[in-house]
């Protein structure tokens, strides 16, 4: 059991860092929350930041066996916490 951690935003992950999805910020409209869940961003699901392209471009995340690119306006509303799984 890990001690409770302060939630971070998905956007804050560094390249190769792995975290678990905690939930979504209230500011993210519900349809988008649902769509992210459909993509596999469930509570407790492991998500890895694969790439952080330069110049503020959308970042690349892996969930399950699928790779998604999320812009800051979405990724900052996805709350994550440090995962026990580690990093790639």
């Amino acid at each position: 059991m890990h001690p409770a951690q302060t939630p971070r935003s998905l956007w804050a992950l560094s390249k190769g860092e792995t975290c678990a999805v905690l939930g979504f910020d209230e500011a993210l409209p519900e349809p988008y929350r649902i769509r992210l869940m459909e993509f596999g961003f469930h509570q407790g699901e492991v998500v890895t930041c694969l790439l952080r392209p330069g110049f503020g471009a959308p970042r690349v995340y892996r969930v399950s066996n699928t790779v998604f690119s999320l812009d800051v306006e979405v990724a900052r509303f996805v709350l994550v916490e440090q995962s026990a799984v580690g990093s790639v």
Binding site: M37, E38, P53, A57, S64, F68, S69
Partner: protein, 609 residues
């Protein structure tokens, strides 16, 4: 006729499967008012059964207007007694992504008594990478047959057709396991089922990551992006050119053969200029549309298009556009017509409108003769910096840059002014695995787009061409453009052009250039009494220089042509792909903006002189 529905999430290989099952005997229709294709065609090996291919969607819970229309159409189709079966395609290598949607489809079908077969595509990829997938276990768990297939290699297709034939005859009882199960429970179940039955291991993601590390690298990825876009541009400009020339030669040749057989002079002129001239003018775009659709299809199917959208997203977002707008805009530098078709890749309706807004301002190839003429009139053919910089080339660069700059400024301003009305989809993009493209579905798409252009836009273009021909031909039988109805119209609107220092001759040339911008040069040539001005501009350049056209008017004309939407084909396609309202608003809006900017330019330049 018995119908079978084919549904699946994007990047599941659904289109390849549709193509595999139907061959090339298909027809494509759009949902009313939007640009979502629904293809249908008889099974190649069961010609009495029709397969209907729905657009790829991630969920039956839509988040955009287009998804809502597609989902509503799917649900309505389930009430159709002719629909006897539903095939739901999933990507077997990435089960998690597709399974929630699959359960939604099964639930909807069970509630309406329609049997479902799940097709786990990409069996070949599983085999190559030594991955296993317990499809029998999954079938038991979801209560629907799961067949392992490969659309690319045709694996499992015989088994599918055999099962389908059987089921269309016997009409099996449909279980009700998922009926009335709420979405939240379906989502949880999908997650658990994917974990339990899906393939293990991340060999595919790791190989994808290696390529992404290159293609999305800030330095190398940028160079790769530049090279790929250069090839795309070449395909539109260079590779299409011989076929475009061929089409033009064939149409003109047919005209030249047929016209001498007509004894009535008016009918002969009409057939030569309005029919063959008009048909030739728009058929010439078909090779460009075909080649661009083909190249974009290859980029999309290979997985690169999604990466290109990611690379361009940030800078374009500042101007209310999205990364997916880049390729349509780049294509617009060659020709707006294929570019407007390419804008179908922009999934957010608002951002697609912004892309439509930007495309006609990109400096298309039809503007080049106009720019070349006006630059030759006013800019000396001299060089500077030891011959490295030509003034005419610099002027051409500036006017090209002005068009692109204007496109970004206008979309930026409109997106900010309309911030209350817009509904942007957030940028969440699936990066599909890199694959070798399947050529047949891409060819099918290119053929369909070309057909759409000829059958839909062609009618409008031909009608406008005939109207302009009538205005220019009568009442003097085409002997003098200046005294024709078009010429009279030019005199009538002369007060409008006088503030820019232009007389009726330029007014007539501008009016006729609404057919296509390059017509401006030919019309001016006719008015100044010079034959073949399109091919040899020098005599026309000297005539215009001798006519005393002020420098301010020349630059104002350049600005006018950079902004005004003077292309009936573009307006027709905008009307079909967007809406008549959008096309007419853009036509008027860009015309007024072009006029006001031209007036401002003339005033400032003349004041400075």
């Amino acid at each position: 006729m018995n119908r079978v529905l084919l549904i699946g999430s994007p990047n599941s290989g659904k289109s390849s499967l549709f193509n595999r099952l139907t061959g090339l005997n298909q027809r494509v229709a759009n949902f009313p008012g939007i640009t979502v294709d629904v293809a249908s065609g008889p099974f190649a090996r069961m010609p009495d059964v029709e397969l209907v291919d729905f657009p790829g969607t991630y969920s039956l819970q839509p988040i955009s207007g287009e998804e809502a229309v597609a989902v509503e159409f799917f649900q309505r189709s389930l009430t159709d007694p002719e629909v006897r079966h539903v095939l739901c395609v999933v990507d077997a290598t990435r089960l998690e992504k597709s399974l929630y949607f699959t359960l939604q489809v099964i639930r909807e079908c069970q509630e309406r008594g329609k049997p479902v077969t799940v097709l786990a595509n990409m069996a070949d990829v599983l085999a190559v990478n030594d991955l296993t997938f317990d499809h029998a276990g999954l079938a038991d768990a979801i209560g629907a047959p799961v067949l392992l297939v490969s659309a690319r290699q045709g694996l499992g297709i015989d088994a599918l057709l055999s099962e389908l034939r059987q089921k269309l005859i016997t009409q099996p009882a449909v279980p009700s396991r998922w009926s009335e199960t709420p979405d939240e429970l379906l989502r949880g179940s999908a997650h658990q089922l994917a974990q339990r039955f899906g393939p293990r291991g991340d060999v595919l993601v790791q190989s994808q990551l290696r390529l992404d590390s290159f293609f999305l690298n800030t330095g190398l990825g940028g160079i790769a992006f530049f090279c790929i876009m250069f090839l795309l541009f070449q395909s539109i400009f260079t590779w299409s050119a011989p076929v475009m020339d061929g089409v033009e030669t064939v149409v003109m040749g047919m005209g030249a053969t047929l016209v001498p057989l007509i004894s009535n002079q008016v009918i002969a002129d009409f057939v030569a200029d309005a029919l063959f001239g008009g048909v030739g003018a728009f058929l010439v775009f078909v090779p460009q549309i075909f080649v661009l659709t083909l190249v974009i299809g290859v980029l999309e199917d290979s997985g690169y298009l999604a990466r290109a959208a990611l690379i361009c997203h940030r800078p374009l977002k500042v101007f209310g556009l999205t990364g997916k707008s880049f390729i349509p805009m780049l294509s617009g530098v060659a020709c707006a017509i294929p570019a407007i078709y390419a804008a179908r890749a922009v999934d957010s309706p608002w951002q697609r409108v912004m892309t439509y807004l930007a495309i006609p301002l990109m400096p298309c190839s039809a503007r080049l003769p106009v720019y070349a003429l006006l630059i030759a009139v006013f800019i000396p053919d001299e060089t500077a910096l030891l011959g490295l910089v030509g003034w005419q080339g610099l002027a051409l660069f500036l006017i090209y840059f002005f068009g692109m700059f204007a496109a970004l400024v206008i979309t930026g301003v409109v997106s900010r002014l309309a911030s209350g009305a817009k509904s942007e989809l957030p940028f969440v993009l699936e990066l599909p695995p890199y694959r070798l493209p399947s050529i047949r579905p891409i060819l099918r798409m290119a053929i369909n787009r070309s057909k759409h252009f000829v059958t839909k836009a062609g009618k409008v273009i031909l009608a406008v061409t005939i109207a302009v021909w009538v205005l220019g031909y009568f009442p003097n039988g085409g002997t003098d453009l200046g005294t024709s109805w078009l010429g009279e119209l030019g005199h009538w609107i002369q007060p409008l052009f006088e503030p820019i220092g232009l007389d009726w001759r330029y007014g007539v040339a501008i009016l006729s250039s609404f057919l296509a911008r390059e017509v401006f040069v030919g019309t001016l040539g006719t008015i100044f009494g010079i034959e073949g001005a399109e091919d040899n501009m020098q005599p026309l350049v000297e005539q215009i220089q001798g006519s005393g056209l002020p420098l301010g008017s020349g630059i104002a004309l350049l600005v006018f042509f950079a902004i005004a939407l003077q292309c009936v084909s573009t307006v027709a396609i905008l009307s079909k792909e967007g809406s008549f309202r959008l096309a007419s608003r853009m036509l008027v809006g860009y015309l007024v903006t072009a006029y006001l900017l031209a007036l401002l330019t003339f005033t400032v330049v003349q004041a400075l002189l």
